[in-house]
Symmetry: C2
Subunit: 326 residues, 2 copies
């Protein structure tokens, strides 16, 4: 484990433990099958980044009430609902080192438990009694489904542009992380300035998070990642490293990459060739650099807040997002 990750975990130890308890207590779904399936996705090593960010953003705006942890579960439930449906849509087999839910309980249960978690998230958000919070959260759910549909529509297409890629990852990933930060501020009845700053922090973290996620699919150690690398390309998902490489490669390298990508069922050697080309043409470095810039923007957005432990922590989390290896 990296030093940065250790430092963060030490600082958030008690918050994470409260979030785990709240996730268990708020699940309460009455039916065994729901509990089993929901637990599988909820308690299989998630990083709890989203609820943690909500709690910390509420805290940096002066919120001290205990119920923050209950409302924070909304963001983990939304995330889990999306993972259940996305793994199904993507035909994924492994997540975080364990078989995906639909391979254990079947597609039908997975669709319905995803629906339940989405509804549960909105139900908990309704308990805040704050229309603004509920509006933000329901709009996030809308954006996320549209981001996923957009990605699905572009699957297998090689002509996806840099800006279209950013639009997709913003909707499917960043709006949820942005929303967690923003709702923390709204819960704390923070000033518009603080709300906007945390919203910007979350948006930038969210974009960087997905860029790194997509990058890890080419650079990670699959035993650490908990799933096979190269999975995106096999599913026809063309992400930033490839988009950049296709735009800068020599015609010969471009044709070679396109051939391999079009086949989808490429060999391990062919995948190595792709990774080498991505490195050689600077595409890996480019994606890493863009993620780092987003993280710098995220940290800069925190400048409206005075120096506190919580501010340090938000800054460390930003650094971690771009330096993680899983």
């Amino acid at each position: 484990m990296s030093e940065l990750r250790k430092k963060i975990l030490h600082m958030v130890n008690s918050d994470l433990s409260d979030i785990e308890t709240a996730l268990m207590e708020n699940l309460n779904p009455h039916l065994d099958l729901v509990t089993q399936t929901a637990r599988h996705i909820l308690f299989s090593g998630g990083k709890r980044l989203r609820p943690l960010l909500m709690v910390l953003c509420a805290r940096i705006c002066g919120y001290t009430q205990e119920d923050a942890k209950d409302f924070a579960t909304v963001f983990e439930y939304l995330h889990a609902a999306t993972l259940l449906h996305d793994d199904l849509v993507d035909g994924a087999t492994m997540r975080r080192g364990t078989p995906v839910a639909h391979s254990i309980w079947g597609n039908s249960t997975t669709v319905l438990v995803g629906d339940f978690l989405l509804a549960r998230a909105l139900s908990i958000s309704a308990q805040t009694g704050r229309p603004k919070i509920i509006k933000v959260i329901s709009e996030i759910a809308e954006e996320m489904s549209q981001g996923e549909i957009h990605q699905l529509m572009r699957k297998g297409k090689l002509d996806i542009s840099h800006s279209e890629y950013l639009e997709i990852i913003t909707r499917k990933t960043a709006v949820l992380i942005q929303g967690a930060c923003r709702v923390g501020a709204i819960l704390a009845k923070a000033s518009d300035r603080m709300e906007t700053s945390l919203s910007e922090y979350g948006l930038n973290i969210g974009i960087a998070y997905q860029i790194i996620d997509d990058l890890l699919d080419y650079t990670a150690d699959s035993t650490i990642l908990g799933k096979e690398i190269g999975a995106d390309l096999k599913e026809g998902k063309v992400t930033l490293p490839v988009i950049h490489a296709l735009s800068v490669a020599t015609p010969k390298d471009r044709a070679c990459m396109e051939d391999i990508i079009r086949k989808q069922a490429f060999s391990a050697d062919e995948f190595k060739t792709i990774v080498k080309m991505l490195n050689d043409c600077g595409a890996i470095a480019y994606a890493q650099q863009l993620a780092s810039e987003k993280i710098e923007a995220a940290k800069a957005a925190l400048s409206v807040f005075p120096q506190t432990n919580t501010k340090d922590l938000l800054s460390y989390i930003a650094d971690y997002v771009v330096n993680r290896n899983m």
Copy 2:
């Protein structure tokens, strides 16, 4: 078309047309694929029962604002989201005489567009700015997913009891119709007494609606129904007529029915045998009678309201639910 249906349609003509317009306008999903898929399920001959009930229940409580129709779309979107996912879960092929969405756009798109419609419904409900309304609606979504999961868990099981059947249909169908009626009252800021009455009206209509739906699977003309009859049994869904028949049949008839049901891939002749047994032992009449009793309870719940055209209409709609043939 029955005289009753004609009379109702004549009275709600202008409301239905406003609801159609609101459904089109509120859809606004930005992506072509979402529009196509959502339109397929939304504009293929739905009866608009749920939004219509919301509008009428708001009106009977004195609500006169035009926005009722916009909020009413919530109930059609929730319904459509459920249909998309349920047809997928059930492996259905036809609905209302047209191929189901997943047979045209595939499972992935259908899952994601269902998610979008669910999120859109909650987003529109958030626009009311009324936490109570949002709470009711998000709890409905939670109940519905649990009802569907409960049904899935009991698929193919012959030992399902009368009360378990009622619990399942209440959650998967009745709470949405009940919620439409109740939200109409809440929107109109009606008294608790009115809200409770309309809630009871909706709950009873909802239960009767599903009992009749399940009955039509044995008694309908499949060209009018828009899908093959006997589909429930083929999917392993044991509904009220069969539950009742199994509890009153002679041991010989019971063994015969159980054999046919266990096979699932029964012949047309075997299905006719089942239907004859259901008629002979009074199970068809029993289900019809129970639905009629629920409809009488629904109409009795309207007694708190003075005589008006809207009250007549709610009463006619109750009668229609139990007399429909599609």
